[in-house]
Symmetry: none
Subunit: 209 residues, 4 copies
Amino acid sequence: MPSPAPSPRRAGRPRSAEADVAIMDATREALVEVGWSKLTVGHVAARAGVAKTTLYRRWANKGELVVHAVAALFDELELPDCGSLQADIESVILAFAGLLQQPGTNASLMAVVAESTNDPALREHIREAIVQRQKRLVLQGRQRAQRRGELPPDAADPEEDARLVDLVFDVIAGAVVHRTLVSAEPVDTEWARRFTTLILQGLPAAASL
Amino acid sequence: MPSPAPSPRRAGRPRSAEADVAIMDATREALVEVGWSKLTVGHVAARAGVAKTTLYRRWANKGELVVHAVAALFDELELPDCGSLQADIESVILAFAGLLQQPGTNASLMAVVAESTNDPALREHIREAIVQRQKRLVLQGRQRAQRRGELPPDAADPEEDARLVDLVFDVIAGAVVHRTLVSAEPVDTEWARRFTTLILQGLPAAASL
Amino acid sequence: MPSPAPSPRRAGRPRSAEADVAIMDATREALVEVGWSKLTVGHVAARAGVAKTTLYRRWANKGELVVHAVAALFDELELPDCGSLQADIESVILAFAGLLQQPGTNASLMAVVAESTNDPALREHIREAIVQRQKRLVLQGRQRAQRRGELPPDAADPEEDARLVDLVFDVIAGAVVHRTLVSAEPVDTEWARRFTTLILQGLPAAASL
Amino acid sequence: MPSPAPSPRRAGRPRSAEADVAIMDATREALVEVGWSKLTVGHVAARAGVAKTTLYRRWANKGELVVHAVAALFDELELPDCGSLQADIESVILAFAGLLQQPGTNASLMAVVAESTNDPALREHIREAIVQRQKRLVLQGRQRAQRRGELPPDAADPEEDARLVDLVFDVIAGAVVHRTLVSAEPVDTEWARRFTTLILQGLPAAASL
DNA sequence: GACTAACCGAGACGGTACGTCCTGTCTTTGA
DNA sequence: TCAAAGACAGGACGTACCGTCTCGGTTAGTC
């Protein structure tokens, strides 16, 4: 999914795929090295060996470019089957935290989210590109745990069901992000185990409300 | 605490107190209207009816100005005694969420945090001005619950103890922030009750690790 | 002479003659409407309903395109036989001024000349395409006047002769251009008569130096 | 007359007079070296050791900057008293041509005039700054010659009188410009003498119409 | 009737300059 | 000494053209 492609089949010279990857790479590298606020479009273009124009032809402004680059990072997140729900959750927590602790990612993510609070289009973009993509991990983990018999089947009321999924999602993602970015403390295996225990032990009571 | 005061007693014309409040007000209003990234110092100064110089005389740069303005908002947070730990937590969650849902606050907070990821000084500034101020709420709530007998006394190992406090802090603050800013869903009483239940039920198990 | 033709006989599809005229028309129209400096190749191409490539296949750059378009305008200048030298000159002055007063022509001519002052190739191009073409009018007028006995035969020294022709040419062309473009005053029959009188009365003395 | 000054007495830091002269100098030098069309505002600013902003604060765009710089060149033109009308005219012709032959001036003048053909405001600016300033030379020369008895006193009809002055002005300025910029031939003393003779001998006849 | 060279439109490409905007500093006059 | 005003150096922004370069798709003229 290289860039907001002009789709079907167009006349004229097609957009360079090489430029696409060079730009994304350069953006991520620059993000890591100088951070969002000091990242300049000109710098990215130069580093990618590409004209600024080429960049602006694909993304309307610096914001969109960075969102795109950041979103791609979250594609890496996977939910490996570790044999138990507790282990699965701990593993994804560590993977998520690992991502956030990469120097570029956290700044970028925060910046992009911050930007989105005053830009509804960007907000929607983020929801689709990042949030929803992560939420599927929660769903996938639950399905697996249900097959293992660790969790009861879906609640009768689908709305009620969605509320529970959202709760778990917000708690996990929120706590990891907060610890990493705000408290600026490391997320290690011990913290992950303790946190996972808290959730799994508290969940049945929360579900039964 | 109007501005980083020029220490004890100085010669010459004293700083205008009116300017102080005009600047803070203008900053917050601008933050609400245009968001962090489009907020400019010149714009704030003009809106406050003040010269840019006056502004820079009080804060070193845009970041400090905004942190200052945002931090003040968090002073309002109090932990009223509602009679039970569950009620206390629910109440502070709702108060915190109420703060975040004010249009200006969320954008500002995120922006300032985002900026901080590449600026250690700003990061420390935030920790002192915002994070630590909130963490005392957790400590205060625990003390009160311990007096009521709802929670066991402090753990023997103070480090172990601190880890638990931090965990609870990250979980609460993180979940509320994430739901509000990232998921963009409302934090209502029902969600607060369910979330509080999850924490309180999970906490003993997490503490015993 | 539609465009700098691709020489004698080429294989492949021949260039479109329609494109040629569409481009020239569009160029002249654009010149009138927006002037040289705001005229863009892309705009001309679009107006002509032609691809930019088609345009660049015929002219090396914007300059050549415009020179070509402008030069063609000067082909119209003729020296009708009005019976006397004075009448001949007045008539060509009025024709020349008429050309310059057309809104597109003056801007174009000036612009092209201006451009040429830093581009020797363009300068030579203009000399051939515009200046020399006009100078033949002076020569033709003199020949005719000599046949009528109004002027003495060519001077013995051909160099001396050329100096006189050049002088007359510069005086006539210069004065008309200056009045039209710089002073921005109209060239009417009265001015033409007075100016012609000045030249014809002054010429013998200038020739005898 | 350094720049379109904000006049009377203003609050705030005054504009730098040094910047004014540095910019003008840099502009003229750049004009000489690279010509109008390749002159860039950024280049001028850099050469003047000044920020681009400083430049744009004084002139709205590249055009105005250059007009201003060029106009100043024409302030140098003076009409020395050489004892006779013929000598006076020859001397001013040579001075004027000398100015035009400076590599930067001609290109600049032409470019500015060309630009003006599509910009009425610029046109008026030029008339005031350049044309009228030169026309006073013609008036001054005539006065002097009248005092010497070389020319008759002003015509009875002031309009008639103005027409004659304009004619002489257009003929002199036009011929010199045309020879220099279009014909690209040198204006030397011999040409100046011959041309001056033509005018002075032709003038009485033109005046008596 | 197929081949083929040169054309055509469309539009992306690397560049360069534009003129605007904002930052944080400096320099005035005036209180 | 501070305040208001506003100029200053610097630097990024996003836009507009330039002249070049693919693309897929036409036309002639030649085999």
